[in-house]
Symmetry: C2
Subunit: 145 residues, 2 copies
DNA sequence: CGCAAGTATATTGCGCGCAATTTAATTGAT
DNA sequence: ATCAATTAAATTGCGCGCAATATACTTGCG
């Protein structure tokens, strides 16, 4: 077998391992997030809002590495669920200002247990998780720009 | 700030780093795969077929950690592109036997350069990539089952 | 043999991701 | 002040992922 052939073997693909782990992660979160009526990405967006109370679509896109094509419909769904408001900025009418409703704020209490449960499900220790996170961020940084 | 609050900070999320890196990886592959007229997942499936020439949907699902809901339409698209055939097994008519067409076999030549280019784009060394792959596989294993 | 249980794949429906385009508001150069 | 260029968000369209269900074929038990 040539080196070129080895490079095309599924078992040798770092990216496929990453992709599969990411999918498995999403599947693992789902039952935990069902009680909150959130998908994984919706949970991420709520996490941003629990931290900073107000954000526009562009800034949210920068934080999540996603664009309005993904975020606009997602935010509409969060609005329908009653967790966020989608107001327009007064200074600049192009800008959507996203804020939490009281239900959205309250949801944080229920969310507290999610990271703990997930940590448990991962069955990995802190060193391994830290290492994984660092390597992922490094790759993300290298591939972006 | 409480420990519970820290656990809900976006910057502390291993899974979000994994998720973002996986998305970035998919975006990075896209221009490389455009010449082959393949998406990333289609490329993965082709990779399986370049290795073993013939597979059914269940076995393909086991290898890729995906189900027929994802694979059936994907395989139909690969068939439409002229890269695979979707025959029925003679011994058991429930089973779809997927094989490469000559165009599908030929595509491997063009694909040879993809892993090399991707390795370059990642800007990571072998130790880092090996470590990332191992950690992803470990997490995948722990979350699956 | 007959039919209930099991198995392989297909279908449906929803929520992403993302490229490409569109719409609407703002800015800046003349 | 005007209007071309820029910017923010929304829209469109396609291909996943995946849960849930349906369909069709096979197997095994009485």
């Amino acid at each position: 077998m040539t080196k070129q052939d080895e490079y095309l073997q599924l078992d040798n693909q770092v990216c496929f391992a990453l992709y599969s782990a990411s999918n498995a992660m999403g599947r693992a979160y789902q039952p935990l997030l069902k009680a909150l009526d959130l998908t994984y990405l919706q949970y991420i967006v709520m996490m941003v809002l629990w931290e900073q109370k107000e954000i526009n679509v562009k800034a949210l896109g920068a934080k999540t590495h996603l664009d309005s094509g993904t975020l606009t419909p997602l935010l509409k769904r969060l609005e329908t669920k009653g967790y966020v408001l989608r107001a327009r900025s007064i200074e600049d009418e192009r800008i959507r200002v996203i804020t939490l409703t009281s239900a959205g704020i309250k949801l944080k209490e229920q969310a507290q247990k999610v990271p703990v449960e997930m940590l448990c499900l991962s069955k990995m220790n802190i060193e391994e998780l830290t290492s994984l996170k660092t390597l992922c961020e490094q790759l993300l940084g290298n591939l972006t720009k």
